[in-house]
């Protein structure tokens, strides 16, 4: 009887959650067995490690300097960034000190629906306590949900020299893995990132974390590869314009500087569009279907930005000669954009089918119960 009840609850949950999810053209993803549509990214770490600042800078366009005025988080803040961003994650910002043994804190439910757990370590501070908390958190989470991606942000590295950064990363990496090995949990994989809110490293790290949670990634990469090879483009990114996280790129290696320049280009386009490109209505958005930008650099490279969906933009780099055939590039882009729409449509259809299936099962259940 109890398993039936659980089953009912899960189905109800699935139904209610899929209800509001199918907006047009917005990609929803990763339903686990419980039917939750939006996976969670948890931001955890010791007090003052920088979690809320990260969230504000990446998803709310806060200037890093303003984060000095942020107050300590004293309860779990649950941010839903799906309305403005392609990334429909829930960011859970935990206050620094979480007591796992506190009975009111039901970490099981939280971890079960989590896609990625980001643990933030303040690299400028002594990190012994951080490491022990990391170990505790990871082991707890793993027992509940072994599929969680564990990401460790070695944060606040803006003050350190390159050698110092590498040294810290190596040290933390070694210690964390030693702790896990000692506990017999070698299976758990931790990924490490050096981050700071004062440069692009936090966006780059978040890009990688987000990409791991996107099931369509290979398809998107494939589409980008086809596009660039047929258009004479050297590099292309698919960016979420609000957070400047790139959710896909072609298979050529990513050069950090190219990524940074792309972020800067998006900033320029958004800023200029916000000044001159707002229609007279109240709900005007600077970024719309016709948003385009072309930047000519003096080294014969052209940067080209085109709107893909209301959240996504493609930023590509191509040599000036290729850009001479703009008509061809625009046609290829048109095909690319249509393909992306189809990828999304598939997802929405899958969603709707699941919902239908769930409803049928539910009605069978009720029928079975009434007999």
């Amino acid at each position: 009887m109890s398993t039936d009840e659980e089953y009912e609850e899960d189905e109800l949950q699935a139904l209610s959650e899929t209800e509001g999810e199918c907006e047009d053209g917005v990609l929803q993803f990763s339903d686990s067995l419980t039917g939750e549509v939006k996976p969670r990214i948890l931001l955890m770490g010791l007090r003052r490690s920088g979690k809320s600042s990260i969230q504000k800078v990446v998803f709310h366009k806060m200037s890093p300097n303003e984060t000095l005025f942020l107050e300590s988080t004293n309860k779990i803040c649950r941010e839903d960034v799906s309305s403005s961003s392609f990334i429909s994650f829930q960011i859970w910002d935990f206050p620094g000190q979480i007591d796992f043994f506190d009975p009111t804190f039901d970490y099981e439910i939280i971890f079960r629906g989590t896609g990625a757990l980001i643990f933030v370590i303040d690299s400028q501070d002594d990190y012994v306590e951080a490491l022990s908390r990391l170990h505790l958190t990871v082991t707890r989470a793993y027992t509940v949900n072994p599929d969680i991606n564990f990401e460790v942000f070695i944060h606040k590295v803006d003050g350190l020299s390159d050698e110092h950064k590498i040294e810290k990363q190596r040290d933390i990496h070694k210690r964390a893995n030693d702790d896990l090995n000692d506990a017999g949990l070698e299976r758990i994989v931790l990924s490490f990132y050096l981050t700071s809110i004062y440069d692009h490293s936090i966006f780059e790290a978040f890009s990688k974390v987000a990409q791991k949670l996107i099931p369509q990634l290979p398809t998107l990469e494939n589409l980008l590869n086809i596009f660039i090879s047929n258009s004479g483009v050297e590099k292309a990114f698919l960016f979420d314009v609000v957070s400047k996280i790139y959710i896909a790129t072609d298979s050529s290696p990513v050069d950090m500087q190219t990524y940074e320049l792309s972020c800067d280009m998006i900033d320029v386009v958004m800023d200029i569009s916000s000044i001159y490109g707002l229609a007279n209505s109240e709900a005007a958005l600077p970024y719309d279907k016709e948003s385009t930008a072309i930047i000519h650099l003096n080294n014969s490279t052209v940067m080209y930005l085109r709107e893909v969906t209301k959240f996504l933009a493609m930023v590509c780099f191509l040599p000036k000669d290729s850009f001479g055939r703009k008509g061809l590039i625009d046609y290829n882009f048109h095909c690319f954009r249509k393909a992306i729409e189809e990828v999304f449509d598939v997802r929405v259809k899958v969603q709707q089918n699941r919902k239908l299936l769930g409803q049928r099962r539910w009605s069978k259940l009720t029928a079975a119960n009434t007999r």
């Binding site: 200037s63 385009t292 490279t301």
Partner: protein
Amino acid sequence: MSLFTVLLMGKSGSGKTSMRSIIFANYIARDTRRLGATIDVEHSHVRFLGNLVLNLWDCGGQDTFMENYFTSQRDNIFRNVEVLIYVFDVESRELEKDMHYYQSCLEAILQNSPDAKVFCLVHKMDLVQEDQRDLIFKEREEDLKRLSRPLSCTCFRTSIWDETLYKAWSSIVYQLIPNVQQLETNLRNFAQIIEADEVLLFERATFLVISHYQCKEQRDAHRFEKISNIIKQFKLSCSKLAASFQSMEVRNSNFAAFIDVFTSNTYVMVIMSDPSIPSAATLINIRNARKHFEKLERVDGPKHSLHMRMR
């Protein structure tokens, strides 16, 4: 060469070198953390608008140097000054001392260059809580205006972390351009011919707005500083890749903006609110106008501007 001397003065640590680095040497705000205290006087020639040379005297603000200026170096430093820019650190604990030095500067100016324009920058405003900023600035401005009599001073509130720095320097530099009226007339004609909503002219090195034309009310009153800042930041990002940008086009369904090299000393930004006009048309118009404006710049050469100044 018309040589304008600009004196940049203020107490030690008030932010003069940072300011100068950002406006003229393409630093970004964060890089200024690396700057150490200026020793004695740093003297630099900065070419500006081709035929203007800004003679920047960045005087180390420490006490011993300050004493030095007002006694032995006085005539040397305060002679032929067109513009005095005095920087006050809004967080300073020694307001009286600051005012004392400021007044000594003014005295020296009155004696040696009585026609100089005086600008006071109340700097580091980012360190003041946002709701306090207007109040504190107003207080300082009143005090400074009072103290400066019989000279009149123009006050600005600034910070290297936002657009207020550009606004202040833009206003200062605008007053130094000898043929600004003619420039604006020509710009207006150009804009009307190509049916642009707005045309901005930027100085090439600093991206300060030196002239503009608009045909209708624009929504954002602070847009010049914002655009300057935006482009400058982007220029800096490009320089990290050892590149620089030549031209830019940004559009959405409501507008199209074109930023391009104009004359040897300027950049132009053209805003069209009719996005159906093909880019190629606007770009050709800009190219044709370029030749005309280049001619203008050459005609108003050094001799001409020098002559105007002497009147």
